[in-house]
């Protein structure tokens, strides 16, 4: 419907952007260069966050939710009043619910993050590791051309 260009971290400070944090997490947690063997600073709650931010594995719950959405979808327009029909056709209520769900997940993860931060005061200076390996994947070797990489299998 609408296309807007915004920095991925838009809405961060103002607390406005509905999926701001999710977008950021999506981007910086499993992408970018990695150095092996650096000082271990405890990264609290990130595992949880990473998993939760990628709730896309279809489950029975997903199926049941889809089925219910289809059930509610009024294609005949015979049983409901007009406002309901319009709302359904636009998918407004269910979409909001989905949005809430996602946000809920992230916020929840944020909460547990806070908790963990309080508890896990790992004296994390677990020895400065000595060797550092950096691997740079020249993502665009060769002549510029359209190339799709296969999805990475992980997590």
């Amino acid at each position: 419907m609408s296309t807007s260009v915004q920095p991925a971290s838009a809405g961060a400070g103002g607390g406005g952007g509905p999926s701001g944090l999710a977008d950021v997490i999506d981007t910086i947690l499993d992408k970018g260069l990695v150095i092996d063997a650096y000082v271990r600073v405890s990264l609290v709650g990130i595992e949880i966050l990473t998993i939760d931010a990628r709730v896309v594995v279809a489950s029975v719950d997903t199926y049941l939710r889809f089925a219910e959405a289809a059930n509610r979808l009024d294609m005949t327009k015979s049983e409901k009043g007009l406002p309901d029909v319009i709302a359904d056709a636009k998918g407004v209520p269910s979409q909001d619910k989905a949005k809430d769900m996602i946000q809920g997940v992230v916020e929840e993860a944020g909460d547990s993050l806070g908790e963990l931060t309080g508890k896990q005061r790992d004296p994390a200076a677990e020895a400065a590791e000595s060797e550092t390996e950096v691997e740079v994947d020249r993502a665009h070797q060769g002549p510029p051309k359209r190339k799709f990489r296969p999805k990475r299998e992980e997590g």
């Binding site: 991925a8 650096y38 709650g45 966050l49 998918g91 790992d122 400065a128 691997e135």
Partner: protein, 267 residues
């Protein structure tokens, strides 16, 4: 080691050395040695360290001090990491690091990171010069996509009729089957629409990576490495697609960002 090295920025290295028990150097990414830092930019952590460059030869690491006894990973930490990198990416080439890279000290950054990999980093910086990452996200409108699927699948139609007006418990199997069909149909549509959009954007990106969907109703999740001077054309092309998909897919374009998806560490 052999290269001339200096630490720029206001914080005194000697002081940092005295606190080396508790402070480490958080590395955001690699930039050219002459990159300009956005003024007043604070790093992540609490208290937020001052962002500075550790230069060596033609490259520099973008770092700030972090306390080693404080865990990282609050939302503000994520924002700080990405904001800083994206701000630099808008002005010049950046090699972003994954969140959470910390070395023991500024010396370690020079000796273990910059020194041994100077030429690799420089080569990679040259390659991303003039480019930035843009992410296209599309989300299906639930009502529209369900209507499409029901119209296309007689089985889904029949199942929908079968569960209509009946309690959830009594129609559980039918519901699961219906949901399965819907899910599979969305996956197929996602693949088709993603390819359709990528085709339409041909010429506007140097490289593309199809990202995993981050939501079950995702229509498109595409990371593009594009020339920053093509951004307007990219926006225009997406605007046209947005109109074409009006009411069906909501499109968002994020960027310019550091090329997170295009400097992937090899396993």
């Amino acid at each position: 080691m052999g290269r001339p090295t200096k630490v720029s920025g206001a914080s005194a290295p000697d002081q940092a050395a005295a606190q080396s028990q508790t402070l480490g150097s958080y590395v955001y990414g690699i930039v050219r040695a002459n990159a300009k830092l956005p003024s007043g930019q604070r790093g992540l952590g609490d208290p937020a360290g001052e962002v500075r460059l550790i230069q060596q030869g033609e490259i520099a690491a973008l770092v700030s001090d972090v306390r080693l006894d404080e865990p990282l990973g609050r939302p503000d930490d994520f924002y700080a990491h990405e904001r800083l990198l994206d701000a630099l990416a808008a002005k010049g080439p950046v090699l972003p690091f994954r969140f959470g890279a910390v070395l023991a000290s500024a010396d370690a950054v020079e000796e273990e990171l910059l020194g041994p990999h100077h030429d690799d980093f420089l080569g990679a910086l040259n390659e991303v010069e003039g480019h930035a990452e843009y992410v296209v996200k599309g989300r299906y409108d639930e009502g529209t996509v369900l209507t499409e699927i029901l119209a296309e699948s007689p089985e889904a139609q029949a199942l929908r009729e079968a569960i209509r007006g009946k309690p959830e418990d009594a129609t559980r199997n039918e519901r699961i089957r219906l949901g399965e069909i819907i899910n599979a149909s969305i996956e197929a549509k996602r693949e088709m629409d993603t390819n359709l959009l990528a085709d339409a954007l041909t010429g506007l990106f140097t490289q593309a990576v199809i990202r995993d969907p981050s939501h079950e109703q995702d229509a498109v999740h595409l990371a593009l490495l594009s020339r920053t001077d093509e951004q307007e054309r990219l926006e225009q092309a997406l605007r046209e697609f947005g109109q074409r998909w009006e009411g069906r897919v909501t499109l968002r374009l994020l960027g310019p960002m550091a090329p997170y998806d295009f400097v992937v560490a090899q396993a």
